[in-house]
Amino acid sequence: MDWLYVNLPIAGGQILWPGLVILGFGVGIIGGFFGMGGGWMVTPGLNILGLPMAFAIGTDIAHMAGKSLISTLRHAKFGNVDYRLGGIMIVGTVGGFELGAQLIMWLERIGKVEAYVRYGYLVLLSLIAWLVFADVAKKMRKDREAIATGRELDALSTGIEWHKTLHKIKIPPVIDFKQAGVRCSIWLPILVSFVTGLLAGILGIGGGLIRMPALIYLVGCPTHVAVGTDLFEVAISGLYGAGSYTYKGRTELLAALIMLVGASVGAQIGSVATKYVKGYGIRIFFGVAVVGCAVSIVFKLVAAEFPSVRSLFNGAATALILLLVGGLSLYILLKFLGGVRQELAMKKHLVE
């Protein structure tokens, strides 16, 4: 079974290469669908496969840049990418990210990188999950009220609408983002992207996990445009992050390239699947994914704290991440296949 393992020239040791391809494929589907790099699954997934955490972060960011580029090209053809908004957000992201990467190197020096990154993930995932499900609950309440009063809701209406308050703060210059349908102060996307970049640099993620909901709830983008624009930003900031982490000597490029092979196919499937799902379908499953990831992080923390049950909880964390990636990928793949079948059937019907 030696052929199933590849020697890692930089990080040392060996890794199961089919595991890398499958992880890349699954996270490619999920990333293309939800508009993120999928780092919050890849970083712990790589760590679980045996890559040290400091290498897992840099390697994940390197593969994420390539995969997000593929998804961006696909989403752009659908009209889901607001290049002006994405370009402005890069300014804040790069600054925040570099500060975050410096903080990670400091954590590594004091030997606290594993614990702090995991605790940081946990707090962040909990907040995001709460936000998403609170939004869904509020939207459902609005739907019930609309039905009760005989009104029809706009197809683009949403639950939580914090962006409406933030749009009223008109610190000049105020910019029109046509593709996103948003008019706001330029400082709003810059501040949002600086904070998301900082968190991304610390946690080793592309930032999409935080930026996608931030684009929806703070900037006010429709879900599909948030997905596409976020991927554009992840591609650019991921490339910067890959350069930064590689310069610091923390990227296993061979592992990143192996993952990219699987991710390239997955990213296409995930991106096209958004055609067949409404915005709130994407949001609800995003929330489910976030909760699942938070639970797996808890398992890893329990394993680290209690040596007597370490192997049990490490195994449970691994199983949950694989189940999450597998389950979500399968759901999106089925949506893709079902949507394609329906579209081709309609096309055939029209031709006849």
């Binding site: 930089i10 696909r74 683009l156 923390r250 490029l253 990219l260 196919v265």
Partner: protein
């Protein structure tokens, strides 16, 4: 400010900062970045060159990474794009709706 409000707004952040400050002091003064050396003795050919490039110059290795990743992404993306277009679905438009 009441006692509970003080605890929430000032006490908790102060406690967190104290713990973090303790860790900063534990790190010692002005540490150098940990240096990792790739063991290129185990490899030959391209992988040996790869590992030696890493050891010789992180800047060179970073340049290779920044060039290789988007190149591979573009090549694989164009290939999978071509395969996707063979399915026969509309890949240029979608309906924008939240629900």
């Amino acid at each position: 400010m009441g006692g509970k409000a003080w605890l929430g707004r000032v006490g908790v952040p102060a406690a967190v900062l104290t713990v973090l400050a303790g860790n900063v002091f534990a790190a010692g003064g002005g540490g150098e970045m940990i240096v990792i050396v790739a063991d290129s003795r185990r490899f030959s050919g391209l992988l040996a060159w790869w590992a030696n490039l890493y050891n010789d110059s992180h800047l060179g290795f970073a340049v290779v990474t920044v060039l290789l990743i988007p190149t591979m992404g573009t090549v694989l993306g164009l290939l999978t794009d071509f395969l996707m277009s063979r399915i026969g679905i509309n890949l240029k438009s979608r309906v924008l709706a939240e629900h």
